[in-house]
């Protein structure tokens, strides 16, 4: 058994938008409700500021992901910690909160968003491709929906079987 059972998730996506619009969509609850399965993000955008991702009605079991902003450069970079609502045996394995980084790189008429979610456990990855449970399954759906919202004005809705 290795000393650290750590895993990371990295995802890159190019969106036809401006850094300002993408930043707003990433950090504002009214936007996030549209593309993030109804979750409402609430950021106090400064180092040490509180962060919450509040669940919609019926999904309170997810908890509010309460974490903290570590770095904040508006329109460029956001780093925050992320708390899962873990069952006891998984909470015991955690070595600190996981950490999410958004980096925004302008590229012509688009912006590349590089997402890194670090300090995860192997349990955070779900190999069942038919669920949105698992960091690896959730992020692509959320970011695909964000991209569609910014490029077409319409976010995506997913079938209810996929609600974690």
């Amino acid at each position: 058994m290795t000393a650290t059972d750590k895993t990371d998730f990295v995802y890159s996506i190019l969106i036809r938008t401006t850094p300002e619009k993408l930043w707003e969509a990433l950090t504002t609850g009214d936007f996030s409700e549209k593309y993030w399965f109804g979750f409402h993000v609430n950021f106090d955008l400064k180092p040490g500021g509180k962060m919450q991702i509040l669940p919609p009605k019926g999904m309170e079991a997810h908890g509010d992901h309460a974490g903290e902003v570590l770095e904040c450069e508006p329109g460029r970079k956001l780093v925050y910690t992320w708390q899962q609502a873990d069952p006891a045996e998984i909470a015991a394995k955690r070595n600190g909160l996981s950490r999410v980084t958004y980096e925004l790189f302008p590229m012509g008429d688009s912006v590349k968003l590089l997402l890194q979610h670090e300090n995860l456990l192997s349990e955070d990855v779900n190999n069942d491709p038919t669920t949105f449970k698992g960091i690896n399954n959730g992020w692509p759906a959320v970011l695909s929906s964000l991209k569609s919202l910014l490029e077409t004005g319409e976010a995506m809705t997913f079938k209810s079987t996929c609600q974690a």
Partner: protein, 166 residues
């Protein structure tokens, strides 16, 4: 679950149908728009060879089709054709899976190499997210992202997409 020593996996959700996505993945008028101006030359049957050809006619990559089930699944051998250190690694394996879902397609791209720390997988890991992002924009808005095709190649495919009887 069997995972290859070097793996790149990317899932994206696209507002389209499997048939339209399959067409965009295989037909030259679409691939030129989002895949760096390249086209794929092949007979599209199991066992057929394929090559990815750039606008100057240079072959970038090639291989053999292992499985093909339009419009749901494609598996092929993929080998780089122009960079010695990448060619030396031999064949990687590319899988496309298209899963329809209520007005959307869940598109999974899996690119694997049977050796750890593969340079091929590291190289394609940078390219795929850009190509797939541009493909999604093309299918959802009618125009690919700038920079994913040489001047003039993106054109307007919106009318082609809208008129298709799928």
């Amino acid at each position: 679950m069997n995972t290859a020593p070097s793996t790149f996996v990317y899932v994206t959700y696209i507002r389209t149908t499997p048939e339209k996505l399959w067409e965009a993945l295989t037909q030259p008028e679409f691939t030129r728009a989002y895949f760096f101006g390249c086209t794929i030359e092949t007979e599209w049957t199991t066992g057929a060879t394929w090559k990815l050809v750039d606008p100057e006619g240079e072959i970038k990559d090639g291989g053999e089709i292992l499985e093909i089930e339009p419009p749901r699944r494609l598996v092929l051998k993929w080998r780089n054709a122009f960079k010695p250190e990448l060619m030396a690694e031999g064949d990687s394996r590319l899988t496309y899976e298209l899963e329809p879902e209520d007005g959307l397609v869940k598109f999974t791209v899996l690119h694997e190499m049977d050796k750890p720390e593969s340079k091929v997988i590291r190289a394609v890991s940078n390219g795929w997210p850009m190509i797939l992002s541009s493909l999604k924009t093309l299918l959802e808005t009618g125009a690919a992202l700038d920079g994913s095709a040489p001047c003039g190649a993106s054109g307007s495919l919106k009318s082609k997409l809208e008129n298709k009887d799928h």
